[in-house]
Amino acid sequence: MKHYSALGLLRNALGRNRRWTPAWRSAGPKKSYDAVIVGGGGHGLATAYYLARDHGLRNVAVLEKGWIGGGNTGRNTCIVRSNYLWTEASLLYEKSLKLWEGLSRDLNFNVMFSQRGVYNLGHSLQDLRDIERRVNANRLNGIDAEVVGPAKIKKAIPCINTSPGARYPILGASLQRRGGVARHDAVAWGFARAADALGVDIIEQCEVTGIEVRAGRALGVATTRGAISSERIGVAVAGNAGVLAKMAGLRLPVESHPLQAFVSEPVRPVLNTVVMSGAVHGYISQSDKGELVVGAGIDAYNGYGQRGSFPVIEQAMQAVIELFPAFSRVRMLRLWGGIVDICPDACPIVSKTPVEGLYFNCGWGTGGFKATPGAGWVFAHTLACDRPHELNAPFSLERFSSGALIDEHGAAAVAH
């Protein structure tokens, strides 16, 4: 792997940028691997990277049916935070946030992680009580969090409407200063490049069509590019988790829904932080290019179509315009939908399965992007050691029959 540096950038610029080489090899599938990761999004690539880096497993393949980062990794609103209510969830997301803080250096790839702070707004007395409870819970878990009042919010975000007569009056907010945004494509490319440098085969245009299971053991996968045998198969395919589970004869407690987001035309710097409101189902930040990035809630119905219904967009836009009246004349340029797999308790499943050698990382719902490095890190541990790390042990499939759910629905203060 060619090391990226400022000097290298200068040298290539002087050479008219003709000497750049591809960031990762275009690998073809081998007959067998020590571990196969299904899904070449951020989670799958991160898993492969940490498998190779921390567990010495380098004979690893990442199978991607389309292209790297073309699924949910490229279809989110880039927000990173760890201010969840319950200890199990907040420790897992905090592990991820800690990895984000050193990620550009680890990967030698600028993922443009910008800790510009995340505000979660409260619009009612109950919202405020929940915010105070969550902030206290966060601080007990060693996670930075503070409660801020309307005057401080107005000072930090001048264009927000904090007037008492607003449709959604802003009574306060929680603020996590270490939260922020990252460049989503760069995360996928950075992990792909770093994993590739450690010997991982990244195989694009290779769709898994079957999982071979014999006597309760996973033995390999059938793909559109031939059969691949492996006794360790990790599945990280977000919305399609149920489809992959069915191939192995399993059922999952997840349902797939469309989640929509959109960006505006680029405008001058106006919003230098992230604003989220769970009560009105809208969240917004401004990208480095100047686009306003707006996220909506999920569509209620099940769907795999990578698009949703217009009323959801309208609802999110109404909320954003109520909060930021000045944005009413901003034109929206693009919109997209990703397919998110939602668990009944709005927490992920990073777990072994009843099939030996088959592991699932799914159910992240709308919160998967922020977890990318952390999810990869614990999933790699689970695959390599055949048992979960203590951080993801509570996120097992068994919790649905044991009853030890981690109820983050509504607890994390946002449209999940």
């Binding site: 999952l252 407690p253 997840v254 349902e255 797939s256 099940n302 769907g303 179509g305 219904s309 029959s401």
Partner: protein, 107 residues
């Protein structure tokens, strides 16, 4: 936006309806007879198919009645809507007199 044909009111916009999830899931007659895994399956596990899905919708801002919908989860095309009736509610044959959508008539 989905255009959903309520078996009683005819085609209406999606915003008039609320979604009720997968159809054909019945509360077990004797919950105490179930193992933890079977109870979990009833409570939390869903078929979540990529393709035809049988689901429940409620015409919340119309007649306020529940009915069944067969919809493709990839194209979102609605194949048919049908009445629920008694214990067969949600069954694809809609036995015990399923009312097919498209008639648009009150029966």
């Amino acid at each position: 936006m989905l255009l959903i044909e309520c078996p009683w009111c005819g085609p209406r916009a999606e915003t008039e309806f609320s979604y009720g999830g997968e159809a054909g899931i019945f509360r077990p007659a004797d919950p105490h007879a179930l193992s933890d895994a079977e109870w979990a399956d009833y409570l939390f596990y869903r078929s979540n198919p990529r393709g035809t899905h049988r689901e429940l919708w409620n015409h919340a801002q119309g007649c306020r009645r529940w009915f069944g919908v067969e919809r493709d989860t990839v194209s979102y095309r609605i194949k048919r809507t049908y009445c629920l009736s008694g214990a067969s509610g949600g069954q694809p044959d809609g036995s015990a007199g399923g009312l097919e959508a498209g008639s648009g008539k009150r029966r």
